[in-house]
């Protein structure tokens, strides 16, 4: 393994500590600023008229009754919005992808239940809903394409495409592969099916759009980056004389759903252009569970070949996913194919992946969008361990890459470096006391109770700065004439805590108190473009930019101080808001005094130095940075009811040096619990006509405080090659969590020969696995 990167924060006071979050006071006291908290004079409220059918032609739309309702100010259909045509662009996919024309409102036909057909603007939301109920749309109903199997054989979803396959990718033919399987000592097969999930941020989507004069569209949006929204709207409307400014202070969770604006947000901006008044739309939960983009719904058939020593010889996987009608991109989860080998030595690998369009809500990236690779690999490895008759941890140890193997080039081309899959697994196992658990398990089984222990190991590509919108982030930092520090950075928090973690980095680099640092990431008109949250990249990319920009500013302070104090710059250090000269206490000055010189007494600056105390850095992180982790959990399965109780959950991750361990653990926990929801409870379902059947929180069940264990956290911190050595941690829990839990349940039910490869493992499904229910 390469030498660790230097961590430049030798005298860290804040970095690495459990610093209390700066954002918490306003959020705890009800003073957060979310999009629905924005009101403007003359603002009208939007409500969408949505398709009640999954597939059909629009025969007629009658908006007269709605327009006549007192308090309704406008009703727009696609024909009206076309005065400012705005075509939606996808975020994922390749040049070969087949991507349909997507417009904010349906034109000739509707393609999923919830497809927006018209928008009603009224004085308040209540009247807007009344108005929407008065819009009469006549449809010519057609049979819906709902499942992946429907899509593979049924009618074409998008008339402008000649197929329902958005993209198929595959490895080249490998004529020798079948001989490897034929000659293998063990071949293990299985099909893993993952249901559809919804992101369900507790704050739904929402937007306020208001023209400022004629040339600026001011937008408040619930999003993952105000810069991304501004960029997206500019591309969609392509109006040369219209500029977009986007503000997003507090956002109540996103998880991939809000990575870019989508049809409704674009429609609201178009409506604001037409009506010339501020327009607000706040999605309600029914819309969120039916019309917002969704995630997962995929299946993958896996074959693994092993030699007699349980060493992996080859893998062959065939993957399919349901992209719905209007996905955020036309990609068959390419990254899942790339990452399937994970942290294992895999000498031979074949894959095929297909993404299908259907008459269901479109797909969006969801926390670890490629997570199926870990679920498929880790569940099949434990199935292999059961089949071969070897301990699942031992099987992994025989196949995991070690420090000596790195840098390790995966068959798919990614080069994994500075990861610790073996070390995290060993540390986890040492903490667990597996023999004690196995004894407890045996005793329980003798008494008719079923306990299980499951493991999972994974490696995660983060940051993904290898091109496109994720390539860089920018930090602008300044010390105000008052001595206070303002960081404007292209990160964006939807709960990530970057207001705190970025301030920790700044405070240490400049030697100031964290209370004196404010972090601004809420306004696209300040700082510069950055993609915000996504790809577990903010600590790596935003953190790197912040460290380097702060370092430049620290250098400038030292240069000014050296000049005015007639000292050498390398004798000057910054601590406690002071500027110290080594060995000469009486020469101590303050950052505030240096700031006053930089702004007010510019004649005292070194010859030719730019006035002010400001610095900027746009950071290009390494193309890919790798995080890794091993998790284990134990469960008890009630074989009478099919209920699963999680007893214990231990995580051991390596996300590099932690800026704030409490924030790191918060990210891991949030991801794990979303994973628990995906394994046990959550399911977006449709009937055969394409009607969604889980449309409230009574049907779509997310975990509650009663459903979660108290996590035990272990950490290993191996620096990456990025500035600061950070690796990123946002998505991992949601990737490695699900196979951990599935494996524990399968272990508990091993006496029944259950594989547990069909999610969710709800009580009826568990009983089916046991064989007591179909």
């Amino acid at each position: 393994m390469n030498a660790p990167a230097d961590v430049p924060l030798a005298a860290a006071r804040f970095t690495g500590e459990r610093v209390p979050r700066k954002e918490d006071r306003r959020l705890l006291t009800g003073h957060g600023a979310y999009v629905d908290d924005v009101t403007m004079a003359g603002m009208v409220h939007g409500m969408f008229v949505r398709s009640p059918i999954a597939r059909g032609r629009i025969v007629a739309i009658d908006v007269e009754a709605a327009r006549a309702l007192p308090g309704v100010r406008a009703v727009y259909t696609a024909a009206d919005l076309d005065r400012h045509p705005a075509k939606l662009t996808g975020l994922y996919g390749s040049a070969e992808s087949k991507f349909p024309d997507i417009w904010p409102l349906a034109k000739e036909d509707v393609r999923h239940v919830g497809d927006p057909v018209a928008i009603v603007l009224a004085d308040d939301r209540y009247v807007a809903e009344d108005g929407a109920a008065l819009v009469v749309v006549e449809y010519d109903d057609a049979d819906a394409v709902v499942t992946i199997d429907d899509a593979a054989t049924g009618a074409i979803v998008h008339p402008d495409l000649d197929t329902n396959v958005a993209l198929m990718i595959a490895t080249p033919e490998d004529p020798g592969l079948e001989a490897v399987f034929a000659g293998a000592a063990h071949v293990v097969t299985g099909t893993i099916t993952h249901q559809r999930q919804a992101h369900v941020p507790m704050e739904t989507r929402g937007i306020v759009a208001a023209l400022q004069g004629s040339g600026e569209m001011l937008i408040h949006a619930s999003c993952q980056s105000p810069h991304m929204v501004a960029r997206y709207m500019d591309l969609a409307f392509a109006m040369p004389d219209l500029h977009f400014r986007v503000i997003a202070k507090d956002v109540g969770g996103a998880f991939g759903l809000k990575v870019q604006p989508w049809r409704e947000e674009v429609a609201i901006v178009a409506a604001a252009l037409l009506i010339g008044r501020p327009v607000k739309w706040i999605e309600d939960r029914l819309e969120n569970l039916t019309a917002s983009n969704q995630a997962r719904e995929q299946d993958v058939t896996v074959r693994l070949a092993f030699d007699a020593d349980a060493t992996l010889l080859a893998a062959d996987i065939d993957y399919r996913c349901n992209l719905g009608a209007y996905p955020h991109g036309a990609d068959p989860n390419s990254l899942a194919m790339v990452m399937f080998p994970g942290p294992y030595k895999l000498p031979r690998y074949k894959f095929r992946a297909q993404g299908f369009y259907s008459n269901t809500a479109g797909q969006a990236a969801y926390r670890g969008p490629w997570a199926m690779e870990s679920l498929a690999r880790e569940t099949l490895l434990e199935k292999a361990a059961r089949q071969i008759g070897i301990d699942a941890v031992e099987l992994r140890r025989r196949n995991l890459i070690t420090a000596a193997d790195q840098p390790h080039t995966m068959l798919t081309g990614f080069v994994i470096d500075r990861v610790t899959p073996r070390e995290t697994l060993d540390k986890l196992v040492a903490h667990l006391d597996t023999p004690a658990f196995r004894a407890e398990q045996a005793a329980a089984r003798a008494a008719g109770r079923y306990l299980g222990l499951g493991f999972a190991v994974y490696v995660e590509p983060t940051t993904m700065a290898f091109g496109g919108i994720l390539s860089s982030d920018v930090a602008d930092i300044r010390i105000e004439p008052t001595g206070k520090v303002t960081l404007t950075v292209s990160t964006h928090s939807q709960g990530h805590g970057t207001e705190t973690t970025m301030a920790q980095l700044v405070a240490d680099t400049l030697g100031v108190d964290i209370e004196d640092v404010s972090v601004m990431e809420d306004d696209s008109s300040r700082g510069g473009f950055g993609p915000g949250a996504g790809g577990s990249r903010q600590a790596v990319s935003g953190g790197g930019a912040t460290l380097i920009a702060s370092g430049k500013l620290a250098d400038k302070i030292r240069a000014i101080a050296a000049h005015v104090l007639n000292a050498s710059p390398d004798t000057i250090s910054l601590a406690g808001g002071k500027v110290l000269v080594a060995g000469v206490a009486e020469m101590t000055t303050t950052v505030k005094e240096i700031a006053e010189i930089a702004y007010y007494q510019t004649e005292r600056l070194p010859e030719g130095m730019e006035a002010g105390l400001e610095a900027r850095h746009r950071y290009r992180p390494p193309p890919v940075v790798y995080s890794n982790a091993a998790h284990a959990c134990t469960v008890e399965v009630d074989v009478e009811t099919g209920m699963v109780k999680i007893l214990r959950w231990v995580t051991c991750e390596d996300c590099g040096p932690m800026i704030n361990p409490a924030v790191v653990e918060g990210q891991i926990a949030g991801g794990v619990v979303q994973g628990i929801g995906g394994v046990l409870y959550e399911q977006i379902s449709y009937d055969a006509r394409g009607n969604p059947t889980a449309v409230t929180f009574k049907d779509y069940l997310i975990p509650t405080a009663h459903d979660v264990p108290e996590l035990e956290f272990l950490h290993i911190a191996t620096p990456s090659a990025s500035e600061g050595g950070f690796k990123g941690v946002g998505e991992g829990g949601a990737i490695v969590g699900p196979p951990t839990l599935v494996n524990a349940i399968a272990d508990a039910l091993a006496p029944f020969g259950a594989d547990c490869l069909t999610l969710p493992l709800s009580p009826p499904r568990v009983l089916a696995e046991i064989g007591t229910r179909d």
């Binding site: 209390p20 979050r21 954002e23 918490d24 006071r25 306003r26 959020l27 705890l28 006291t29 009800g30 003073h31 957060g32 979310y34 629905d36 908290d37 939301r125 209540y126 369900v200 941020p201 507790m202 704050e203 739904t204 507090d250 956002v251 109540g252 969770g253 998880f255 309600d284 939960r285 928090s493 939807q494 709960g495 990530h496 805590g497 409490a662 924030v663 653990e665 918060g666 926990a669 949030g670 991801g671 794990v672 619990v673 979303q674 409230t696 929180f697 009574k698 997310i702 975990p703 509650t704 405080a705 009663h706 979660v708 108290e710 996590l711 829990g733």
Partner: protein, 157 residues
């Protein structure tokens, strides 16, 4: 729509207003009273984000109509901290234990905790029961479970 005159006390301020019969208490508090800390996460009584205290009892303000609050005293998260800014002990515990991330569920959570710990000392299990009526998509409830233990007296602050 029928319109009704109501008088309420919200966070110590008396408010006289005309409300439509169908207006929820949540919308009244957010709109008329300006208490935007009242968050609406589902509008069907499951998520708990809209929880406020009405006459001493934790209530889901999306399930109550504004007209039903006529004559009532209502407290929202904005009123919990002391005038000098000192956080209420449930707010302080939530902060100390990293009980929040995006903060959207948070005002509802703190109002429930404030209501059930007002003048009584529920144990950790009862607090956890109360927490299970709140949906949080960010935290995995880890900090809140610590808050339950701390407020429940099992763990010293």
């Amino acid at each position: 729509m029928s319109s009704h005159a109501i008088e309420t006390i919200v966070n110590g301020q008396s408010i006289s207003a005309q409300v439509e019969a169908r207006h929820t208490l949540a919308d009244f508090l957010r709109g008329t009273a300006g208490c935007t800390g009242v968050h609406v996460g589902c509008e069907h009584g499951v998520c708990g984000a809209c929880t406020v205290i009405v006459d001493g009892v934790a209530v889901r303000s999306c399930l109550m109509l504004a007209v039903q609050a006529d004559g009532a005293t209502v407290a929202t998260a904005e009123s919990l901290a002391a005038p000098d800014g000192t956080l209420h002990r449930v707010q302080q515990a939530m902060k100390d234990e990293y009980g929040l991330q995006c903060g959207f569920c948070t005002p509802g959570v703190v109002m429930t905790l404030a209501a059930i710990t007002q003048g009584r000392s529920p144990d950790a299990e009862e607090i956890k029961d109360a927490l299970s009526g709140h949906l949080c998509r960010c935290t995995g409830y880890q900090g809140m479970l610590k808050v339950a233990k701390r407020l429940g007296g099992e763990v010293q602050a």
